[in-house]
Symmetry: C2
Subunit: 427 residues, 2 copies
């Protein structure tokens, strides 16, 4: 752990620097697989599933029988936990619905804004050792509330050709319309172009490894939208003497276990707290099954002492953390002043893992400083805003002149003429 | 004009195909200029301003004197038109403000969502023959309502080293904080990296030529967000015998004058209307100063007859037009059923140019089929949604067990432990 005392502002960006990855070598692979899937469809998808996942399929689609078997295999305790999480996520995202915004800007000029669902979306759920069924909830629940018609889930099969039962359980519970046993670049390519089995979608959501991340970026060049650019997960905690050091340490460690490149930062106005948290981390680290991963992330972590809350807030806003835990005597100051953060966790009893699973907020959040310009996934991520206008005869008479003058000044005579014609017809 | 009668659905995608452009050759130029601006800052910006705009500057920034001179030079009639447009845009975008969304998902688990402004944004306003001061209104007005702190406007200078007075007038009227005489790739690169004179921003808005479009795409690889991907402007009109053919023709032409690659489509259940509109287009075309441009766009336009409104709607949703004019006996059917469109114009007295300038809706809209997955610019484009959660001792006892079970099932023990510690402390 790196303890840094009162760093000067001109050193902040260096201290807070995130690891950058070169993706140039991956890009070529991704482009090739995209081209092949575009040309050969399912045949190419099957080929790469065989190469990367070691499985040969007759049919990529998960059958109703497979889903039923999976549902039966999930322990009741886990089912109940998933149901509670789903219920909370539903409550919070349903509350984000917005009514039609309707304004008569001038007499006879009726304007309104409505949000309508993106019709076809794809959810990518990684496989591997940690089956992220929680991400199924975070994406499929708001997609359903938004009213998306087709919700297609892709997840890579294990060596036996199966998807983890908890993922299948969550998918059927949350109204996913199609589940496909396909992962990696070939899944993203399939969702981008459509194949015989994989539907073409308009927007792709979900986390993934470097290959999936680069594939999602490439998908945007083919007209598909994505939830947001991805980077390693990160947590910044600001805490002072009112915080329980063991709690703070446990939060930093739960971030650190995600991967060796996870970002873990503690900012404090208390040197005592920094020392106490450091000791606690060492103690707790010993008990972790993923100790090796967490140890490496912790080795790169930063414990930063600053003189006061204002300096702390300034530094935090410059960083723009994905997850931001606030546990200080001065919480309101941070809550009011935070400009750039994905999700904020307040007080001693709000661990980051609450938001990861069950509080109701979304855990798909902007990393890598993207909290400065991107929203985390929310209900609006599954809709687009459309505007409407209806102008009456009176209305066009009220604003027609202004349109004519402006169109003329921009050198667009046909724009002007479209109004002039109508005004003349009313003379 | 191409008249097509009752095309079969499997030919729609071909009929509605948009022109695609190869940008590979441009990409190299854009990348080189980006690297040079990143390395050399203002020096590189000055170099390319000299090359592309033929102007050598001491100072890129527009001075207060220049603004005052510009304000004095704008005719009163145009000022009043701009003020009316601004007022309507303000009313409509201010109405889009959303209140904090607050939900207690479970006793003691308080979650809320707030939108906070993107702190630093850049607006790109093209120069050239048509000075798009209307776009200044469409971007700066909502940026101001959202509360963006820095609003930086870049626009290329003319041969005399000036920006069009109407652009400067609109900029100062709408609270732009800095105006820079810089255009093209070097402007987007400057906003991406920051130079001695150009501030680095978090999100870039605004239209531009192919170079600007590719530059904005490249900016996203350096962590900057953009409003949306751009393509040639497009209009689809659905009209039947209640529509005035001369009005429909004038709308199609006002789209066509934008550029030779503009997309102009009429869909109708009336062959009579199609013929009448065709005649009107020929008549009106003769009077247009931009006849040459409009003529080429019209030559590629499509007049499509379909048997009924259902088929029309299906075809329109497959296309996803940027601008969608509805003028039929059955307007509500289209308004309710439209899934993919940027902005919708309803009835005989709602020309597209109303939305381009003064009705109050935004004219920065998704083209190229992006209406399927992107919103037009709206108030939320200038904010990001952040979530907050505060869990009490009671709250963590209510949801702690579910978090433990889910974290365990995902193999994330440290996530579980962060909850276990807190639950034990309350025993």
């Amino acid at each position: 752990m790196n303890k840094i005392y009162s760093p000067k502002p001109d050193t902040w960006s260096e201290i807070l620097e995130r690891p950058t990855k070169t993706v140039d070598d991956i890009e070529l692979t991704v482009k090739e697989i995209f081209k092949e899937v575009q040309k050969k469809g399912d045949e190419a998808v099957a080929k790469y599933t065989s190469i990367f996942d070691g499985v040969n399929f007759e049919n990529l689609e998960v059958s109703i029988q497979e889903i039923e078997t999976a549902v039966a295999a999930v322990p009741t305790e886990l089912k109940e936990a998933i149901q509670l999480a789903k219920s909370n996520i539903e409550k919070f995202h349903a509350a984000q619905k917005t009514a039609k915004v309707e304004v008569e800007t001038v007499e006879g000029v009726q304007c309104w804004q409505e949000k309508r669902p993106i019709q076809k979306i794809g959810l990518y759920i990684p496989g591997g050792t940690a089956p992220l069924f929680s991400t199924v909830l975070m994406l499929a629940v708001p997609a359903n509330i938004a009213g998306c018609k087709e919700i297609v889930l892709c997840s890579p099969p294990d060596k036996q050709g199966n998807i983890n039962p908890a993922i299948l359980y969550a998918a059927q519970l949350c109204g996913v319309t199609k589940i496909l046993k396909v992962g990696g670049i070939q899944a993203i390519a399939g969702l981008t172009f459509g194949t015989q089995t994989i539907p073409k979608v308009y927007k792709i959501f979900g986390p993934g490894n470097q290959f999936v991340t680069v594939a999602k970026q490439l998908a945007t060049q083919y007209g598909v939208a994505i939830d947001m650019p991805a980077g390693p997960s990160e947590l910044l905690v600001v805490a002072d003497d009112i915080a329980v050091p063991a709690f703070v340490a446990s939060d930093l460690l739960s971030q650190a276990e995600h991967g060796t490149d996870s970002q873990v930062i503690l900012v404090s106005t208390s040197k005592n707290l920094i020392d106490a948290v450091e000791d606690e981390i060492q103690l707790q680290l010993e008990q972790l099954p993923r100790k090796e991963i967490a140890e490496k992330a912790i080795a790169n972590s930063k414990l930063i002492y600053v003189a006061n809350d204002s300096t702390a807030l300034e530094l935090i806003n410059e960083y723009g953390p994905e997850h931001f835990i606030v546990c200080t005597a001065n919480d309101d100051f941070y809550i009011d002043g935070i400009e750039n953060a994905g999700s904020v966790f307040i007080g001693n009893y709000t661990p980051e893992s609450a938001g990861d699973y069950a509080s109701g907020t979304n855990h798909t959040l902007p990393t890598n400083g993207y909290a400065k310009n991107y929203s985390g996934v929310n209900l609006d991520s599954f809709t687009k805003s459309m505007t409407f206008q209806k102008i009456s005869e009176v209305g066009i008479q009220k604003i027609g002149k202004a349109i004519e003058v402006m169109a003329e000044a921009e050198g667009l005579q046909a724009h002007k003429h479209a109004v002039t014609l109508r005004l003349k017809s009313l003379e």
